[in-house]
Structures are given as structure tokens and as C-alpha cells.
């Protein structure tokens, strides 16, 4: 119960912050001590908490990774993250979490004019005006079981077999009916001459008798 309440809180906070972030730029790279810069950003998952399978509290499992593992940081309850003391250059930020697909982000930290930052998604080359990272899509790891349908049974090998039997049983008599009576008689004659094939004749003892 407590967990549920908290998740709602997070969601509220997220939506609240969204309205504020329009006013204040979330993308901020501030010059820190020495030559290091600080990259501040934010991860926003619109449906977090509202969806069943991404369990609430997952926010704590989101990791933000700089340059393929050089630094790892976590999200604050409001979704913000920061990397401190980052040298000037072009960096790569990845967001990892279960259930969502995030594009890595290319972030240019320029030494000449601090504060001037460029960021772009590497997947679709979309430029970001502020460092708000949103998932490109949700990830569904499991196949969905298709509900029972007649077609699936018919398509299965057993279904095909049954179908064939049904065809033989119901359609063959129909075919026989449509046959010319003359021909029918001739065929029956032939069959009589050959002897009626029956199961008994197939048995080993039948041949002797």
C-alpha cells in the first residue's frame, strides 16, 4: 500500500516538474571547479506508475551511464541527474532501465563557451534543446499468448488430420452419389471380383480361411 502511494507521488512530481521545465531549461552545463563541467539532465517517463508492468519504484532502478560505463549515476526522486567534473569534449549518455528503450544521447561540452551545450539523440539524430530524456518506446519482453481460436486448432497437424478425415467421411459419399449409376455398377462389379477389402482380410489369419 505504501508503495502504491509513493508511486503516485512520484508521478505527481513528474507532471508538476514538466510544467516548470518549460520555463527553466533542464539542460544545464555549468563550469565547475577547475576544468571540469557539470552536466545536468532529466529523465522523464510519461507512463511510469500508470502502467501495470513497469512496477512503481522502478525509478530507483534507472541508471544513467556516461561514456559506456566511465561514470554511473542514479536519478533523484524528481528525475534529475547530474555528472560532475566532466571534461570538455563529446560525450555519450545512456539511460538503462527494464521496460523502456532509450536512445543514447550525444552531448557536446565545449570548453570555449561554457554553458553552450548541444545534445542529440544518436538513434534518430534528433536535436535536443534541453536534456530531457524520454524513452523512444516501451519494451515488451514476452510474447503475448494469442487467445484460443478455431483457426489455431485447424492449423495444427492434428487439426489438419482431423480435417482430412472429415473431408473423406463427408465429401466422398457425396462424390459417389454424383457418379453415373452405370459406372457405379461397373466399379462395384470390379470390387466384387477382387474381393471386398475388409479389416479381417488384412489380419494374418484371414488369408488362410
Amino acid at each position: 500500500m505504501a508503495v502504491k502511494q509513493r508511486s503516485k507521488l512520484i508521478f505527481l512530481k513528474l507532471s508538476l516538474l514538466f510544467s516548470f521545465s518549460l520555463l527553466s531549461s533542464a539542460l544545464a552545463i555549468s563550469p565547475g571547479a577547475g576544468d571540469g563541467h557539470t552536466i545536468n539532465g532529466r529523465v522523464k517517463i510519461p507512463s511510469l506508475g500508470a502502467k501495470g508492468f513497469a512496477l512503481p519504484g522502478k525509478l530507483s532502478d534507472i541508471k544513467v551511464i556516461l561514456n559506456g560505463g566511465q561514470r554511473v549515476t542514479f536519478l533523484r526522486p524528481d528525475g534529475y541527474f547530474s555528472f560532475h567534473n566532466v571534461p570538455a569534449g563529446t560525450h555519450l549518455i545512456e539511460v538503462t532501465t527494464i521496460g523502456y528503450f532509450f536512445s543514447p544521447v550525444r552531448v557536446d561540452v565545449s570548453a570555449r563557451n561554457p554553458g553552450n551545450v548541444q545534445a542529440a539523440l544518436t538513434e534518430n539524430r534528433r536535436r535536443l534543446t534541453e536534456l530531457v530524456l524520454e524513452p523512444l518506446r516501451e519494451e515488451q519482453y514476452y510474447e503475448i499468448r494469442e487467445p484460443f481460436s478455431v483457426m489455431s486448432v485447424v492449423k495444427s497437424p492434428m487439426g489438419l488430420m482431423m480435417g482430412f478425415v472429415v473431408i473423406v467421411m463427408f465429401l466422398m459419399p457425396k462424390l459417389v452419389e454424383n457418379m453415373d449409376p452405370e459406372e457405379m455398377r461397373r466399379a462395384q462389379e470390379e470390387m466384387r471380383n477382387q474381393g471386398v477389402p475388409s479389416l479381417t482380410s488384412l489380419l494374418p489369419g484371414a488369408a488362410r480361411s
Binding site: 577547475g34 487467445p147 492434428m158
Partner: protein, 998 residues
């Protein structure tokens, strides 16, 4: 031939008719896979048991994990794996609801919400001289003396502070929001702080430490604003060794520069006074040096002399007296204060099959609070650490529980003389993995026994059928799931026909060997290897690899299989090696082979002796080769193949690749016929100013290739260049050795080579401009796939190189085949210098890879999948067909029929093809695949901090029925058919009779 090709093409078409993704239904979790979560060897633990509610213990470990565990069961409430370069230094609990972690030598301070592990704030503490950060002491008020009473004392305090000394500065950080309230630079005072002390109920912090080593400094700082109130210093003529312990809020213990005098330092009344005591005065026959053991106990401290641990008490008058002298194996906990002003600590001593835990008052040595002896499995080794906690018994007296960390990295909770729970956290640091077969099923034990009676069986299947037809109710669904999961079949201790049941032999960093059952992941046996334990001859042994020593099949069936464990004493390559052979059925260490020589390289040779022991060649640092096993038979087999043994070595630092061959017997002082001299055959020197080796990969020697021919469109054939002796080498510009973002594309390049290791011939060389590492590569059959970072596109790229044998291309001519003029049967030799062609293609890949592996099957017929461990600690299965250099943007009709996919610039990531599905293998480090007996299936074991095992079928299980195959439906169909036959027969008989009467 043409017929075979056609059949093959048909088969190929059949396999490629659908996109074979690894897909799983949600109810199939846990059927073929298992997942185990670990944390690693605990470095420090803090209990949280004061409040009513869930009792927890917060720990941080050597795997850089911070975790909150349930104190009742040892289960993980939450955990976080921090970055590898962000090592945790200290943790504590503040205000009863925050876990504070300090990492990166005190530069990072984070607070986590205790109940759910959500990060609350993060503070970056910069120092003026970041390079000079030699020491960091995080400090939560009164923590040293009253660790467990932190909460109460902090509540009294108005400004809730965390004090951190790092990078030469003392920081006060607010616990609520992580704001840095004040910062005091102590480098200007010329003091290296060793301890921070805050006497109870005062606003003054004492920061004590050494200035220049003979000088002792004490600073008084106002806790409210960081103002330096007073700075005292005094010089001790003997100098200091650098260690400092606090025994009370105003008394410290240090040792002098020679480590033979203990100095008691008192900073009472604003003045520093020294009092020195020769260790030889109170410890009999003391010689050598004494090491102060880090401890936090009031009035008592411990020193280590040789193998002895000496506990010393500081009396009120400032005298030192020995209270106990313990031989080896002792762990001492920190002080714990329970009830009013009472303080206790625990001492755990090692016995033979048990451990002795004593809890004593810190100020009254003679009366013990608790004395317990606990049965202990010998395979857990020595006690390494102990943490104590108290609880209130029903009769209002105090009881104590202890968290014990053992030599094998396991974690145990001990209470009332019993082990309440234990965690095998050694499995968080897997070093190497191999597999072993289970015993063959003995006669007399029939499989039918396991099955229930027919009715039960049918009932189960009917239930399953209901499930597949989606007619089952929720209760029935649960029942189905239960039946499937508990299936005894998969966790039996015998071999199965499909080869799914095996033992995973896992070597951990603690030097312990575990055998895990592939069915359910349970530990079948474990063994703390004697040869990999700390001993006098071997100070810091490390386990390196496991090799298959003996795999009996045909003519040595009564032998048990065994593995060879190779280790080394220390990290230097010339340190003496250790070898050990372990029986995989019983988990017993067979005769340990004492290797006196160093081990640089281990080469398993493709020869076995009459008991199917594999011959191994061990290369030492003096370039001698040693043959194992040391038997006459082995040497006679070896002599026969003497001239055919080639190997290579890579010197990463010098950028040299060398090929070696055997020369003759060694000439040593002691004659050793198992030792051979070697000589260099060839060498490739990479120019050090432009290329630096960062990755080398070869084929797995156990890999099976089904066919050399590859049928391509229009019934054409290409011949794969399948050679065991090809190595893939990647080098990058020395400038680009750093992280991504540290170089510009212009000054960075990646060069890849394919080199024959017998002749040193470079088969292929290619440059990727503007690219840099890290490079992860995998080599299989005739192809290599490698990942690197493309700096121009700023994306990861994956490339494939395929290598084909041109010299066999003429064999396509049918007439030559008929006339027998082909060279298909000629052996493939490195010396024949065949003409090869390579094809290559690159694609973008979204994620950072941590490891890449390839699936392997028993016959090599099934198509391959790449298993890519991503930065998110998931494993993605990617079909090799996506990495086919023959892909074009617009494939022709024939190529489409062949199953060639149209070229795309990036590799697809389908969520359903994550083999780890919705799970994470935290701290992923390696992926191991092994074939099952069933050709379609491969087993994959993924390790990191967590373990994950699953069964994969890269082309779907075409050779066996699926798990959810409905036997009931089959049975019903058969019954229905038989009924139909009988009915029609009866009908026909009757009709026949009527005919005859007519």
C-alpha cells in the same frame, strides 16, 4: 553434390522461413532459466533494527554494491551496483531513514531512501587538490563511539550534518538535501587528517592527524560554521608509522616509525601529550614489527605481531596491558553501544569445525556477555569479519546477533548459537566457468519411477491442454505453473538424453569452486581449494582458469571426470603457479600438483592418454614448456606430436605477437624430462607510436563446424576458411586509449588484423578511421564480429569479417568432381598458404556492449546467434544473419530465397530477443555458451554480480517437441481415429452382410 546442395538449400530455406527470435511467453519464466542475485563480499555492515517493523542490515561490498538485506531471511530488499570507478568507501545510516554512501575517495556523497533504495540526493565534494586526496573519513556525528545511537543523538541536534573529509577538505553536508553547509580547507594547515572525533554534546569537532610525519596535529573546529578554533601540534621524536586509532574521544594510539613502540596520544585540555610504551615491555619475546589493526572500540585496540593478534587495553591511568593473545583466525567487531552507556564488542575465534563467538563489555574484559560456539562448514574457511547487533529478549535482557563474513565471501547471520541464514556471496565474483557431465543413470533406477501413475499424468496433460486452449480458470493456471516448475525431471542428478542437465563448475575469486546444477542452479558441492588459500609460501593466491582435465567417455567410463584449476601466487606473471585437480562428481581435490614454476600460459593439447586425461602444456615466464600430466604415457604421446605443436603469445605492453615452437629438453640443474625449451618462430611488432593492442580473440577450440561449404544464391558455393590457428587482433592509436570523448576522430583509428598463428601470416588487415575502443570481439567458424566506437557518428558500430578459402572455389565444377580432380579431401594446412578472400560490413549498434559471445551447438548445423551483454546488464540474442557481409540494400530474388536480409544501417533490437527477458544480470561480466546434446539447443550461462542460466534454440527447437506440446491432444486424436476405424469397420461389415443377403 548438386543434390546435397539442393537439400541443404531447402533446409536453409526451411530454417530461415521465419525470423527466429528468442521469444518467451510470460508463463514460461523459470522453466528453462534461473536467476540468482548476489552482492559480493561484505566490507561493512550497518544494522537498522531500532524501530518496529522490518529489521534490515545495510551493507556495501567488494563488488561495489550497496544493498539492504532482510535481517530475518537474508533476502535483498534493494541494491545498487555503483560504477567501477566510483568505489564505495563508507556507508552509514542517518536519521533512521537514509543510507549515506561515500564513494570515489570521498568525492561523491549519496543518500538513499532506506525502505526502497531510491536515491534522495547526491553531492559532489570537490577538493582544491584532488590529486592529494590520500584519505577520507566520512563522519556522522558521534559515529565512532556511539555508532548505533546515531539516530538519537542526531535528533537532538538541530542541523543534521554529515561530515566528510576528502581531498584535503572537511565538508559538512546537510542530511536532508545534501547541501554543503560549510567547507574547511585543511591543506593550508598542513595536516593529513586521520580521525575525526566529536565529543558527545559538544559543538566542537576534533580533526587529528599527522602533519609531517614526526608531527602530530589536532584541530578544533566549530561544527556550526566550520571555523577553525584551535590548532595544536606537537612533535614526537621517534616519528610515526602513519596509522592512528582512537580509543576514546581524546585518546589515540599510534605506532612509531620502527613499529616497535606504541604511542598513546592524549589531547586533553587542549594540549597534546605523548606516552610511549615499548611493545617488548609487555609482549614477551617480541621482535620485528607490529601492525595496528583498524578497530573502533573504546579502551581496547588490537595489534598484529607475526601471526598473533594481541588485544591491548588502555587503563584509565593511560597504561597499556595485554588482555589476550590469540593465535591466528580472529575477527573483532566494532563497538556496539546498547542500553545506557553500555558498550560491547564481539570476538570470533576459529576452531576446527566450529567458530567461537564471544561478546564482551569493552570496559570490563573479564566478564563476558555471551559465549557461543557455532558449527561451521570447513569449506567456508576462516572468519574474516564480524558485525554485531543487539536485540531485546522477552525477559528484557540483551541478546546479540552477529553477521559474519567468511573467507569464501559468504555471509552468515548467527543468533543463539545457530546459523539463521547464509548467503553464498562468493558467487558474485566468478572468475572462470566450465561444464562437467553428470553421472550416467544407473541400471535399476527407471525413469518411470519419477512419473506419477498414468492417471495423474493424463490429468496433468489435460490441464495443460486446457491452458493452451485458454479455457483454464485462474486456479487451474496456477496449478499448471506449479506442475511445470516443480518438474523433478530437470533437477535430477543424472545425465539426460538431451544434454540439458550438466554441472557448471565455477571458480570464484575467493578460491572456491562451486558446482551448480543447470536445472535449478542449486549448489551441488563446493570446495575451498587448499592451493588457492593464503599460506606462507603463497601470500596472495589468485585463481585464474579452469580447464577440462579428464572427460571420460568411451573406454574410461569408470573414471570420474575432473577439472584442472590453475592459479598463481600474486599478480606478477613470474610468481609461482598453483595447480589443482578436482573430481567433478565428488567435489574432492585430487592430488594437488605442486607447480614450482610460474605459469604464463596454459595450452590444452588435442591429445588424451588412455584414461582420457588431456595433455596440457604450461608455459612459464622463462619460456620453458612443461608437460602435464607427468606420466610416461603422456610423454610418449607428446613425443609423437612434438613437431606439430605451435602456439603464440601476445605481449600487450610491447605490442608484439610471437609464434613459438618446441625445441628440445630443458637443461636444468635437476633433470626434468617434462620440461622443454622453446624457440620463437615468428614475431609481429606493431609500431608503438601508432598502434596499441587492445583486444585479441581466437576461436573456441571446442567449436564444431558442420560444413566448410556455404551455399549461396544460384546454387553457388563458397568455401569457409575454417582454421583453428587464426587470431583476431585489434589495435588502436595510443592517444585513443582513454575513454570516449577524450579524443577527436582525426587522431584516432582502429586497425584490425587476422593473423595465422602458425606461420605469422597476416591474412587480413583493415583500418577504421575515427574509431576507438573498447573493442569486444567474438570469433567463430570463419567469421569475427567486433564492436567499437565510431567517433564520427558518435555511435557504436559492429563489424563482421568473413574469410573464405579461394583455393577450393574451383571445386564447383561438377566435371572435376566426377573425375576426382578436386581437393576437397586435402587437409587444411597453414603451410599451404591458401588464397583467401575476406568480406566485411559494418552496422550501427545502439548499446554499449559489455561482453559478446556466440551460441555453440553440438554438431554446428544450427544457425548461430550472437549474445550481446549490454550496458543495461541485459543479454540480447542477435541472429548472425543480421551480420552477413553479403547483405545488400536490394537483394535479388535469388538472394532473397537464400534468406539474405536487405541491408540496414543499424542492427535491430527486438525486445523479445532479450534472453534475460525482464531480468537484469547486475554487473554483467561474461557470457559462456555450451552445446547441449540436442543439436538445436545451446546452453548459456551469464555471470556478473548475478548469475543467469538459460537454454536457447537459435533456429527454434526443430528436433524436439516444444515444452507445451499437448500429448493429451495427440492421445485424443489417436483414440478418435481408432474409434473411427472401428465404427467404419463395423458399418462396412454390416453393409457387406446386407449385400450378401440381397
Amino acid at each position: 553434390m548438386a543434390m546435397a546442395i539442393r537439400v541443404f538449400l531447402l533446409l536453409l530455406l526451411f530454417f530461415s522461413s521465419s525470423y527466429p527470435t528468442f521469444s518467451l511467453y510470460e508463463d514460461q519464466i523459470g522453466l528453462m532459466d534461473w536467476h540468482q542475485q548476489y552482492i559480493g563480499k561484505v566490507k561493512h555492515a550497518v544494522f537498522h533494527t531500532q524501530k518496529a517493523g522490518r529489521k534490515r542490515v545495510v551493507v556495501f561490498t567488494e563488488e561495489n554494491v550497496v544493498a539492504s538485506l532482510d535481517l530475518r531471511s537474508g533476502e535483498i530488499f534493494w541494491r545498487h551496483v555503483l560504477g567501477t570507478k566510483d568505489a564505495i568507501n563508507e556507508i552509514d545510516i542517518a536519521l533512521g531513514k537514509y543510507v549515506i554512501t561515500m564513494s570515489s575517495e570521498g568525492s561523491m556523497l549519496r543518500a538513499w531512501n532506506l525502505p526502497d533504495g531510491q536515491m534522495v540526493w547526491e553531492s559532489f565534494l570537490s577538493g582544491l587538490k584532488p590529486s592529494k586526496s590520500l584519505l577520507s573519513v566520512p563522519f556522522i556525528r558521534n559515529v565512532i563511539n556511539y555508532r548505533s545511537s546515531v539516530q538519537t543523538s542526531l535528533k537532538v541536534d538541530k542541523d543534521n550534518l554529515v561530515l566528510v573529509y576528502s581531498n584535503g577538505c572537511l565538508h559538512a553536508v546537510s542530511i536532508i538535501d545534501g547541501e554543503i553547509l560549510w567547507k574547511k580547507d585543511l591543506t593550508t594547515e598542513g595536516i593529513e587528517v586521520q580521525q575525526l572525533v566529536q565529543p558527545l554534546g559538544s559543538d566542537i569537532i576534533y580533526a587529528v592527524g599527522f602533519g609531517n610525519l614526526p608531527q602530530f596535529d589536532a584541530c578544533q573546529i566549530n561544527a556550526k560554521n566550520g571555523e577553525l578554533l584551535k590548532h595544536d601540534s606537537a612533535t614526537f621524536p621517534g616519528g610515526f608509522s602513519g596509522e592512528l586509532l582512537s580509543v576514546s574521544s581524546d585518546t589515540f594510539v599510534a605506532s612509531d616509525a620502527t613499529r616497535s613502540i606504541l604511542v598513546l596520544i592524549s589531547i586533553r585540555d587542549g594540549s597534546i601529550s605523548f606516552r610511549q610504551t615499548y611493545i617488548s615491555d609487555f609482549v614477551q619475546d617480541f621482535s620485528g614489527t607490529a601492525v595496528l589493526l583498524p578497530s573502533k572500540i573504546t579502551g581496547i585496540f588490537a595489534i598484529k605481531i607475526d601471526t598473533f593478534t594481541v588485544l591491548i587495553r588502555v587503563t584509565v591511568e593511560g597504561k597499556l596491558e595485554v588482555v589476550d593473545k590469540i593465535d591466528q583466525g580472529v575477527a573483532i567487531s566494532d563497538v556496539l553501544s546498547f542500553s545506557e552507556g553500555q558498550q560491547a564488542f564481539a570476538l570470533v575465534q576459529q576452531g576446527r569445525n566450529k567458530i567461537q563467538m564471544t561478546v564482551k563489555h569493552s570496559h570490563d574484559w573479564n566478564s563476558g556477555l555471551l559465549e557461543e560456539s557455532i558449527e561451521m562448514d570447513q569449506q567456508r574457511g576462516l572468519v574474516h569479519k564480524v558485525f554485531i547487533n543487539h536485540y531485546l529478549r522477552t525477559d528484557k535482557s540483551y541478546g546479540f546477533r552477529a553477521l559474519i563474513v567468511m573467507e569464501d565471501h559468504s555471509l552468515l547471520l548467527v543468533q543463539q548459537g545457530e546459523i539463521v541464514w547464509s548467503r553464498e556471496d562468493g558467487l558474485a565474483s566468478v572468475v572462470d566457468v566450465t561444464t562437467a557431465e553428470l553421472p550416467v543413470e544407473k541400471d535399476g533406477v527407471s525413469v518411470a519411477k519419477v512419473e506419477q501413475n498414468l492417471f495423474e499424468w493424463l490429468k496433468g496433460h489435460l490441464l495443460k491442454l486446457k491452458g493452451t486452449l485458454m479455457l483454464a480458470g485462474p486456479n487451474e493456471v496456477a496449478e499448471i505453473q506449479r506442475i511445470r516448475l516443480k518438474s523433478t525431471e530437470k533437477s535430477k542428478m543424472t545425465r539426460d538424453n538431451n544434454g540439458f542437465r550438466k554441472l557448471l563448475i565455477v571458480l570464484t575469486r575467493a578460491g572456491k569452486l562451486f558446482a551448480l546444477h543447470t536445472g535449478d542452479g542449486r549448489v551441488v558441492w563446493s570446495l575451498l581449494l587448499h592451493s588457492l588459500r593464503k599460506s606462507e609460501g603463497c601470500e596472495s593466491p589468485i585463481g585464474l582458469n579452469i580447464y577440462q582435465w579428464q572427460v571420460p567417455h568411451h573406454h574410461a567410463m569408470d573414471e570420474n571426470p575432473s577439472v584442472l584449476v590453475v592459479g598463481r601466487c600474486g599478480y606478477n606473471l613470474d610468481a609461482p603457479g598453483v595447480l589443482s585437480i578436482v573430481d567433478t562428481y565428488t567435489g574432492m581435490e585430487l592430488n594437488p600438483l605442486g607447480a614450482t614454476h610460474s605459469i604464463v600460459q596454459v595450452i590444452p593439447l588435442p591429445f588424451t592418454d588412455s584414461t582420457e586425461q588431456r595433455l596440457h602444456l604450461l608455459i612459464d615466464s622463462d619460456q620453458h614448456a612443461h608437460l602435464y600430466p607427468r606420466t610416461r604415457e603422456a610423454i610418449s604421446i607428446f613425443q609423437r606430436e612434438f613437431a606439430n605443436i605451435y602456439w603464440y603469445s601476445v605481449e600487450v605492453d610491447n605490442g608484439v605477437l610471437r609464434g613459438h615452437v618446441l625445441k628440445d629438453n630443458c637443461i636444468l640443474e635437476v633433470a626434468d624430462e617434462y620440461c622443454f625449451n622453446t624457440r620463437d618462430l615468428w614475431s609481429i611488432v606493431f609500431p608503438s607510436e601508432s598502434e596499441k593492442i587492445i583486444a585479441t580473440v581466437t576461436r573456441k577450440s571446442s567449436e564444431v563446424v558442420h560444413t566448410q561449404a556455404k551455399v549461396i544464391a544460384e546454387q553457388d558455393v563458397m568455401y569457409k576458411y575454417v582454421s583453428q590457428n587464426v587470431i583476431f587482433v585489434a589495435t588502436i592509436a595510443p592517444k585513443a586509449i582513454g575513454e570516449i570523448g577524450s579524443v577527436t576522430p582525426e587522431e584516432s583509428w582502429l586497425v584490425v588484423y587476422l593473423i595465422d598463428t602458425v606461420t605469422g601470416r597476416i591474412l587480413h588487415r583493415m583500418i577504421h578511421h575515427g574509431s576507438q575502443g573498447p573493442v569486444h570481439a567474438v570469433f567463430s567458424e570463419n567469421w569475427v564480429v567486433y564492436q567499437y566506437f565510431n567517433l564520427r557518428a558518435h555511435r557504436y558500430e559492429m563489424s563482421v569479417i568473413e574469410i573464405y578459402d579461394q583455393s577450393r572455389a574451383d571445386n564447383k565444377d561438377v566435371w572435376r568432381l566426377v573425375l576426382g580432380k578436386h581437393n576437397l579431401t586435402s587437409p587444411l594446412s597453414s603451410f599451404s598458404r591458401p588464397e583467401v578472400i575476406t568480406k566485411s560490413q559494418s552496422y550501427f549498434f545502439t548499446h554499449t556492449a559489455k561482453a559478446i559471445a556466440v551460441t555453440s551447438t553440438s554438431k554446428g548445423i544450427t544457425s548461430k546467434q550472437l549474445l550481446i551483454g549490454t550496458v543495461g546488464d541485459q543479454v540480447l540474442a542477435l541472429d548472425k544473419r543480421f551480420l552477413d557481409p553479403r547483405r545488400t540494400v536490394n537483394p535479388t530474388q535469388a538472394e532473397k530465397e537464400e534468406g539474405l536480409l536487405p541491408l540496414t544501417d543499424s542492427l535491430p533490437i527486438m525486445p523479445q530477443s532479450y534472453v534475460t527477458h525482464a531480468l537484469k544480470v547486475e554487473g554483467l561480466r561474461g557470457i559462456v555458451t555450451m552445446p547441449a546434446k540436442l543439436e538445436s539447443t545451446t546452453l548459456a550461462f551469464i555471470y556478473g554480480v548475478d548469475l543467469f542460466f538459460t537454454r536457447l534454440a537459435p533456429s527454434k527447437t526443430y528436433d524436439s517437441l516444444t515444452e507445451d506440446f499437448s500429448y493429451a491432444l495427440l492421445l485424443i486424436t489417436i483414440v478418435a481415429l481408432v474409434l473411427a476405424i472401428i465404427v467404419t469397420w463395423v458399418l462396412s461389415e454390416r453393409k457387406d452382410l446386407q449385400e450378401k443377403w440381397r
